[in-house]
Each structure stands twice: as C-alpha cells, then as structure tokens.
Amino acid sequence: MELIKTERDVEHSLMNLLEKYSIPATGPFQLFGSFKPDVLDLQPGCHFLNANKEKTQIPLLPWRMKRKFTELKKIVTDAVIEEPCLFRISSRGSRDNWTLSSLLYREMDLCEFIGNGKIVSIQANINDTEIANLIVKLDNEILCSIEVSTQLPGNAILQDRHEVIGRRGVASDMVVDTQIVQNSVYTFTEKGELSYTDTDMELFGFNDRQIDHVRAAFSVLKDSALITEWQQQHKHLAKLLKIVFESDKNREKINLKNVSIYTHETN
C-alpha cells in the first residue's frame, strides 16, 4: 500500500527539516554507508562498535528521541515518582534488526538516560549470542534488571518495557495488564491483522527507526554540544559492553568504580 522509504528519502527528510528550521549544515553528511573522509557520518552508535571510529563519525543515540523515553525521563527528573529504587528493562528484538551487542548498547544507554545515573556495577548472564540477563546498579543506587534477547522472528516489532519503581509511584511505558507493545491503529482484514503507530507528523510515512535516526541527526546538527556528549557516552557504552561479556565469562559481578572514568558524570 505504501512505498518503502529509501535511505535517500531518509537523508532528504533530514535536509527538509534543516531547511524548515533554518539550521545550516556545516558540510556534507551521510546517515548510511561506509566511512568516507570529509563526510560527517551520522549513524547510531552501535554501528561504530566494531570499527576504529574516525573523527567524522558521530555516534547517535536515536532511541533518546522517542517521546515515550523523554517523558519517562521527565517523570523521574521532575520527581513525579519519588526516590526510585528499582528499574526493570526488558527488550526483545529480531535478529535481522538487532545483535545482542546493539540491543545491550541501546538498553544500557536508556537505563542511564531515564534513570539519571551511571552504571557502576554489572553482573551479566549470557546464553550464546542471543540472550543476556543483566543486574546492574546506577551511581544513584537504583538497582536495574536488563533482559535482552534477539530471538523474535524476522521483522518483528521490538517488544520492550521500561518500568521505574520508586518509594512513591511507578512509571512505565507499558500500560497496566498488558504484555506487549501497544499500537495506535489496528486493521483486521483479509491480509490478517496489521498495526501502525505514527507519532511524528513532520516525518509521516517513515518507519520508527528511520524517524529516530533523522531526529537524532537533526539534534546534533542543531546543537553541536550534543556531539561531544554523545561521543563520550558512546565510549562509555562501548566500555560497558566489554565489561558485560567479561562479567559473564568470569561469572562475577564487576564493580566499575575503578575502571570507568565516567562513573561520576551525570547525563
């Protein structure tokens, strides 16, 4: 019914946003593809995990653009729920869209972003390359579980849940009494059951990941201070990932206070 948006369409949509909001692009950029000298490479940070990152490669944290996460963060920051103690994260993706490392990268970033802290200890339990269960602690004493799996069938929608439990109140992106991510529109026709969630009118027609990618790239082009912040966070997350696998390998909880230079920074 709908034309699939190409990588070129995605890059065009970013240019349109820049033009609309009068944001000057400082030079050529790309949202996809391999490294090219003198081209600003704006891709999700997890794409740069296995490469020697170049100066022009800007790691994006696109999930931070989702309104559900900015609102959850706001609920925690504004003390709508008070004195958070426990943070429960569950994230199950399909292996054609996610690797264990990329999903762990996302969820550990969201853990710190929403929880307003830095991970200071990790105990990881990993089965092959598709399942990871983590118990981590933030430097603000919030204890967190992070369950990650990449065993959903191809093209399945990411099934994630983020729940913060405080001494006063609980906040969650999952409505009470549900187990799966809800959508805005469902159709039940001869084609079976289809669902749609559209949240961004300026980027209507693009899929969820494309929208987050464009919004994240737009944010760093609009505010260059974000580049430094996200580069530091990328280095931090890459280090956390190594520690996750080390924890699993050695069957031990690893305290990061002695190994991470970012331990006492806040998001």
Partner: protein, 358 residues
C-alpha cells in the same frame, strides 16, 4: 521566509497554552503580543515568563502593535464576532478556535467579512494534523477496508469548565440561553459545543455530508453545571455510512482553576478512539495512544502521561503557508459551516427527541 508577526487574543480558551511553545519554536512566527481577558488571566500568563507584552485591552494591543499580521483567536465563542470585525477591518489573518459561532446568521456575516477583507481564516481543528488520523485517512482512501459501512468515534474528555468558566455559561459558549429540552434545567453549550472534531472528521473521511442525526443527552455526571456534560449521537451520511459518536465530558476531573498535573481523576483525560467497519474488514484506532503511565505526584493516581500533542506544529505550518502563499486553509469557514450545522441539528434532536434531517 519573513516570519509572521502574530498575537494571541483573550487567553480564555483551553488551547491557548498549546500555542506558547509552537510560537516560540516555529521560526516562521514572531510572537509579538497577547491580550488577556482579565487581570487575573494576565497575571497567570506573566508568571510563565514568556517575555511577550500582555494587554488587558485588545484595542490598545492592536494600536501599539500595528505590525500584527495574524492572531490566534483563543476566546469564548461569543467574543468571536466582534474580534472578527476588528481583525477583518485591520486585515489581520485569523486562526479561530473550534466553533466560530453557533448562530448561522453571524456565521454568514463572518464569511462575508473574511471574503471582503481578503484575509486568511483557518479554523483550529487540530485533529487533521494528528499522525494517527493521517494513517486512518490513508488506509481509508487506499481502500484497505473496502466500502465503509460505519464509523464510530469517541471524543471524550474531562470537563474544562472549572478552569474555563465560559464553557459553563450558555451565552458565552452557545451564544444565547437555549433550554436543552422542554422541562430540563440545563442549556445548550456544554460537551457537544466543545467537541466538533468527530463531526468534522467523518465528513472528511467519507467525502459525504450528513443526511440525518439523532442525539440524546443523559443526566449530567456533574450535577452543578448548567450545560450538558454527556450525550450520544447517531445518524447516517448521505452516502449511506452510519455512525455513532460519544462527544461527552465523561472523564471526571479535579476542579482546578489552572490546568496542571493532577487535573484528571480518570487516568486518561482525553480520548479520540475511532472504529471503522468496511466490507473488507475493521479498523480500530486510538488517536492519542499509546503513552506512558505513572501513579506518582501529585495525587498518586494511575495517570496517562501523553506522548502526543504535536498537532499544533502541522496546523501552524499550514497557517503560515496559507498566509504567505495566499492559499485557502483546508479547514476554512465555508467547509466548517456544515459541521456547525450538524452540531446545531444535534441540539435540535435533543430538544425534539427525534431524528433531524439536514
């Protein structure tokens, strides 16, 4: 593009604050002034530290700011006609709240004034710029559901009357005191007057007009307000599509004078859900969901924290485009007249307890 110099009038409409962020962020606007209906409203506005001059005398604002090119008419319905006169005389473009007037003679005057003046007049029906609604339109227009048989929808909210008392004042809301039905101590101008969206949406989705409507008001959930707070509407479009609407204030609220956290008693303060049945299948949609949820401050009640409400971006983009490129807005006065007539027919149906043909 040269930014449009814009002002907000009155600040008595519940949607006023939706514009504050949009006018600050959209580079195509330069927000130059506001007028407030009372000193109290002015003081509330000034506490927001927007750095925008606020006047309690509308004429003084226009005199001091002859550069104003457009206004958001965020006022009670009975203020609109006078504000239309002022704006059309000064050739100021208008973005008018949901119901310009329920009086169809006044409505005709407004059309005439706008046409003579040559200004742009857009009606604020922000649901058109909601991405879920855009998806629904796309699915319907691409025939995914086949021939449509029925469209049912809710447009249910809490009642805004404690924060915006004009919505409990029949003259301010409906334009005059008209008894809801014989023997009833309530007047027209409540929940129905607040909820034109579904009446507009069905016309747009079906490309058809109303053949007839039937409406019935229930006993009020809030015993101490003078206008209707719940009703149900059913009917048929000229192309045969049936519909059932619930445009009620059926979500209870804390009686706050200034809307803010803790306003809602029921977790979700505003809902527009749509179900469409067609020969090929069914569509179910929630135009304002999913969201995030909490049971924290201030009242420890389970509460929906919305992740939507970006409709104003698209709506204001269209307003800019129409002003600068001399286009007619999608929701203009003439288009919207049929919607207001349908709402009036609902009031007639409530009074007569019978079907009303249009």
């Amino acid at each position: 593009m040269k930014p449009i110099k814009i002002a907000i009038l009155s600040l008595t409409h519940g949607h006023s604050r939706k514009y504050f962020q949009t006018l600050k962020e959209n580079p195509n606007f330069e927000w130059v002034a506001v007028s407030a209906e009372t000193e109290k409203i002015k003081n509330v506005f000034l506490k927001g530290n927007y750095g925008i001059p606020c006047y309690t005398n509308e004429q003084e604002m226009f005199d001091k700011h002859p550069e104003i090119e457009a206004v958001v008419m965020a006022s009670a319905n009975n203020k609109h006609l006078d504000q239309f006169k002022t704006c059309t005389q000064r050739h100021i473009n208008i973005l008018c709240m949901k119901v310009p007037t329920f009086d169809m003679d006044e409505y005709a005057q407004m059309i005439e004034m706008v046409e003579e003046s040559g200004i742009v007049c857009q009606i604020e029906l922000e649901l058109h710029y909601n991405p879920v609604m855009a998806r629904i339109k796309q699915l319907v227009s691409s025939n995914e559901l086949g021939k449509i048989s029925s469209i049912n929808a809710t447009n249910i909210t809490l009642s805004p009357v404690w924060a915006f008392p004009w919505q409990n004042d029949a003259e301010a809301s409906y334009g005059k005191q008209v008894q809801l039905r014989p023997g009833d101590n309530r007047f027209r101008g409540g929940a129905l007057a607040d909820h034109p969206h579904v009446f507009d949406m069905i016309r747009c989705l079906t490309n058809s007009e109303f053949e007839y409507l039937y409406a019935e008001a229930g006993q009020n959930i809030r015993k101490d307000i003078q206008v209707e707070d719940n009703l149900l509407v059913s009917g048929k479009m000229k192309n045969g599509i049936r519909f059932l609407f619930d445009p009620s204030w059926s979500r209870l609220e804390e009686r706050l004078e200034i809307p803010g956290p803790g306003w809602e008693i029921y977790p979700k303060r505003m809902e527009v859900n749509v179900s469409i049945s067609g020969e090929k299948g069914v569509l179910l949609a929630d135009c304002f969901g999913p969201n995030v949820y909490h049971n924290g401050a201030p009242n420890d009640r389970y509460t929906v924290q919305y992740t939507y409400f970006d409709e104003w971006i698209g709506m204001m983009d269209e307003f800019v485009d129409c002003i600068r490129n001399r286009k007619i807005p999608k929701i203009n006065l003439k288009w919207h007249r049929e919607t207001v007539e349908a709402m009036n027919a609902c009031y007639e149906s409530i009074a007569s307890e019978s079907v009303v043909y249009l």
